[in-house]
Amino acid sequence: MSFGMFYHRKDNENYLVFIVWDDTVDISLFISLSVNGFAMGMIYALIAMGLILLIRAIGVLNFAQGDLLMFGAFISSALILDLELPLYAMVPVALISFALIGVIFMFSVYWPLRDASYPVAHIISTMGASIALREIATLIWGSIPRSMPPLMRDSETGRAAVLRIADINLQWQFVLTIIVGAVLIILVFILFEKLYAGRMMQAAAQDKYAAELLGIPTILTTAATYIIVVILASVGGYMVSPIFMVSNTLGVLQLRAFAGVVIGGFGNIKGAIIGSLFVGVVESFGSLHFSQYRDAIVFTVLIVVLLFRPQGFFGEKVADKA
């Protein structure tokens, strides 16, 4: 077995290949690792997008984002395992309850603090919310991890379905995660770029006072932002729940989403998505041979990126505000 970094020559250009290369690594493993990486990256991207939306709309760094994902996973597990709803009934019920959670979250964690003079207070209160959400989930559903059925099942064996292309085996769950994540991201972009409601939300995010003068109900746009954020995170939770188990520790995923946000460029949605995908792929390849150090790998990359390009890959250098 040999591993290390080396250059791979293709199209007369050198590419730095940073994966472990030995007899077991071949093109099919490479592809399935990439797919796994992109799928996890999609989950991080869903969390990261919500983070950026909140930062842009109300300037709050949300440390409960991962726990919202965990809560979404628990709610979908309750709908599927306890109520045994079929998928077409489960989706609308789940979306409505996610939206409700978004509104409740906003009015309990953000609204009472909106005039706080101490900026760290917002961050600390989301930390409190993170603990509270985790404990509510534990109280309702217990602390034993629940296993969720995958979205696509093999009709014969009843296990997770596998997509076979040539001799490459891909888990359908990963492929579906990528598809669902991409659809959600495109929907959010359509909302903000094309629709009137999205323009209103952007206006309210850019200058709340001016938006209010124009007659935009900023309370509604803030609520809408929270609803979108919770739906994004919770759908991520639902998609990730068959891969991991549904447990109250799912919240730790948010840390890697933070890494993605910073790597991509703070305050920039496109950058956050690409950064999160990058984190997912780095993690996936890193876990091939150093599985217990994959957090270390991801966050070392984060620190290195921060040192050489503090504004992230896609961020623009912002001058200090006086």
């Binding site: 760094l61 440390f63 309990s108 964690v109 009472p112 603090l113 706080a116 003079s117 101490y118 760290v120 207070a121 917002h122 961050i123 600390i124 209160s125 930390m127 409190g128 919310a129 993170s130 603990i131 509270a132 959400l133 985790r134 404990e135 509510i136 534990t138 109280l139 730790v252 840390l255 933070f258 890494a259 946000v261 910073v262 703070f266 217990q292 150090y293 994959r294 957090d295 270390a296 991801v298 966050f299 070392t300 984060l302 620190i303 921060l306 040192l307 503090p310 200090d320 006086a322």
Partner: protein, 339 residues
Amino acid sequence: MRINKLNIKISNIVILIAAVSFVLVAPRITAGYFMMVVNMGLIFAIAAFGVCVMLGIGGQLSFATVSFMGFGAYFVANLTSGRMGIIMGSIPVIILMIIATTVVAFSIGLVLFKLKSAYFTFATIGLVQVSWSFYLSYVPLFGGPDGISRIATFDIFGFRAEDFHQWFYILVVFVLIVVFLVERIKCTQLGRSLAAIRDNEIAAQTLGINIYMTKVIAFTIAGVLAAFAGALYAMHSQFVSADMFTFERTTTYIIMAMLGGVNNTKGVLVGSMLVTLLPEWLRGMQQYLQLIFGVSVILLMVFMPMGLAGLVTSVGKRLKRKLHVNKKLATSTGMEAKR
């Protein structure tokens, strides 16, 4: 409300009396286990004082507390448990640890403070995750998931701390030293520069403060305090493992500091004691404890963002105003005419 000749605040006298009686009475009425919890509260308070220096005085949100706690704890653990073939006394090992942490924290600070505000915070999250995965997995230095056990307890000049009651007195001394240091820092040029940076970074820069170095030094002090707490923790429990140094733990220290009042040393001490002791007092409601904790953190931020100390100050001000108004009404109305 001062006793004019001595120029001492009455509130300070009350706190002093409360503290002295606590130190005298607490060990007599508490059994071994509860004493241990009190000791833990004191140890965590030392780490929370690091948060106080960074966040309270300097206004920089750093999550790196547990990284340095782990550094101090494992440093002491390796040199006093005989894993490395060395068994050192407590005082030399603590001095070595402080020197090593100063170097490490200073160089990490030099690197991380190239970044500004939120980026810096994120980088410290990265630091916590990196250090935690190494503490958890790297067996030669950190013992892997099993941690390190059989760490020698604290000894000084032939005296060994055998039980939790002796530890209590040792920790009280250390906490007093740290409180004194933090209070001193506030009065020095460093402390005033930090406060200026907290209130307005650009204004501080125009006053000729070297923002970068000031922040790095504050980060180093916070790191050393955290590492010292970690070292005491290792000697006190004679065992360390990585689950003390997770990201969740680091938020606890920030909450401890915020609960008491992040810029107030007495407040931080009360805050860390409360966060450590409440779970023991509320044992009956074990199940709901964390939930109550989380919800009360939110409520705390809503109703008193400056913590218990802030509450005391604002209530005190209100009382004083009432007293003053009464006095004014009674003595003079001439002031109004002059104005």
